[in-house]
Symmetry: C2
Amino acid sequence: MASSATVIHPPTRLLLGPGPSPIHPRIYAALGQPIVGHLDPYLFEIFSDIRRLLQSCWGTQNEFTFVIPGTGTAGMETAVVNFVAPGARFAVFVNGIFGERLCEIGRRRGARLLRVAKPWGQVFSDEEAAGFIQRERPDVVAFVNAETSTGAWQDGRAIARAASEIGALTIADCVTSLGGMPINLDAMGVDIAYSGTQKALGAPPGLAPITCSPRAVEWLRAHESAVPYYFDLKLLADYYGPARRYHHTPPVPMFYALREALAIIEEEGLENRFARHKANHEACVAGLEKLGLSLLVDKPHRLWTVATPRVPAGIDDALARRSMSEHHGIEIAGGLGSLAGQIFRLGNMGYGSSAENVKLVLGALAEALREQGYTA
Amino acid sequence: MASSATVIHPPTRLLLGPGPSPIHPRIYAALGQPIVGHLDPYLFEIFSDIRRLLQSCWGTQNEFTFVIPGTGTAGMETAVVNFVAPGARFAVFVNGIFGERLCEIGRRRGARLLRVAKPWGQVFSDEEAAGFIQRERPDVVAFVNAETSTGAWQDGRAIARAASEIGALTIADCVTSLGGMPINLDAMGVDIAYSGTQKALGAPPGLAPITCSPRAVEWLRAHESAVPYYFDLKLLADYYGPARRYHHTPPVPMFYALREALAIIEEEGLENRFARHKANHEACVAGLEKLGLSLLVDKPHRLWTVATPRVPAGIDDALARRSMSEHHGIEIAGGLGSLAGQIFRLGNMGYGSSAENVKLVLGALAEALREQGYTA
């Protein structure tokens, strides 16, 4: 072999969009540690550490807590296909693109879909949530705790309570909240939750943490239906759990990276970490308002992890983002779907959540807007 | 954060089982390169390089060649669910655990399963293959080119020819052959093939290369059926192809690692690489025979990548493997299913395929057998 140097030479990007988020140098170091085999006791120690630390981030005692060997979308699909049988009544609260994706996956599963929608950026009130569930009497309810596409935080307590009262299971999408905001899953009464590793957990994209309540596990054990092999929670639990029965060969370096990311969270302390995200979120919002930008989401419902200022009239958002990338190496994102061209999306997650990054992104955004003649 | 050192300290293992295989230092270096976003032009350059180099390893011109963001098993499920509609006649040639897994995935898909089996370690003759296909007239045929659980190489030409003659599509499992043995997919006439990254490609586990012939792509475009969202080849192709339409956030470090692994293959040259695997395989077999061990698979049908000597009478295979691990840090594997306790499985793949490793594994195995009183 001719060369001993890697052929990978990525450009330098400061990832301040809604994910993937910047990665701590220790996590890059963890990625490069020697792999072990898929049945090596060391790997099961890693799985066990990951379980304990995810429980803490999620605020849950759920024993059934592990990681799907795919991205956040794989976590979503795993949650839906295992708990929504074909023909089941599946209620989805939709206020952004990931609510729509839950519907799409439910449709493909053959569910009887009960879709309720709000304009993107808004959230469901307790009364709306409870009323819909009492009226439609679904078997399973899904909502998005942290809607990455809009920056909206949906309180899940009323949804989970109403679902529980009629014996339905509740699924929560926590992709953009886990590790950056308090979730308190057990107090919320959520049965099944999933997330991704590339947001506030601060690890690379590629894995999907999932957790199931004892009630959800009981339901799972009592029901048989054909689910995709790769997403079969019973088979996955047989591998990641005490049986250690081979199901697939997991992406070992990604598990090392997630373990490292969770160690960093533990060392910082969850409360400190949440406070850091909150403070940097508030500084970012204050700066955006000073720039004269209004926010899509009302104050009580804003994610700390993703801020979504509206694009001012007359501004080409793609041009502004390109300028930020070219002049400052900073990546943010625009809106998706009906919000394309309407909002910017600024991330504040994990290693990327810092006072310095808030200043950098606000400065770069202000400059990009001024280039297009914007004055606050 | 208190510490700047990683918490990941894996034990040193020489991975000489049937996968995952040892990883070149350059690939560990690639894993640690800074990530970019999922729509970054640099990432699409990586995808494009990977496509070109996978085409070369597979011996195919298929434009529709990319990588599923999951393990080899995800590749298998993607191949089956996209091309086997519920109710379709799905023929599977079974001679090991991965043939059984194809059946299981077909069953879950609701296929009408046409299973034909040989004792594990044997392969299907041209006449058997053609006869079964002509008699059963399946819509889709699947076989395992390289059966990791037995070490058997199944020539696919007669299978693909017979399938093509009745208008059926052919799926080939190339998990343990890709990058270590010539495949010549186009000459074989196979329509769909998938693999894993952790075998002869020499990258970490976690990704599944897949390729589809123009005929398979045409079939795909002409048929609509609900497949799992994560495995939907049309949506995946819209992301990995020119449209660059967001579908999921891919595991960027794994793609860097695969790109690096393929660069190493290109620098070595495919012919040199195949010759290296063949030579080390032959040296391993000669050594095993000198030790007095017989091989499960007949000579013309042996994989170069996995050798499967029979466990001599009176030897406890688990005890022998534990001894090799404890005294030499060498990991090999035992048999699965009906072959548990009957065979050892020795890998000869990628960076791990070397004359030195052949000597090490043979020496350690000989010692472990002698400890149990074995004499050749």
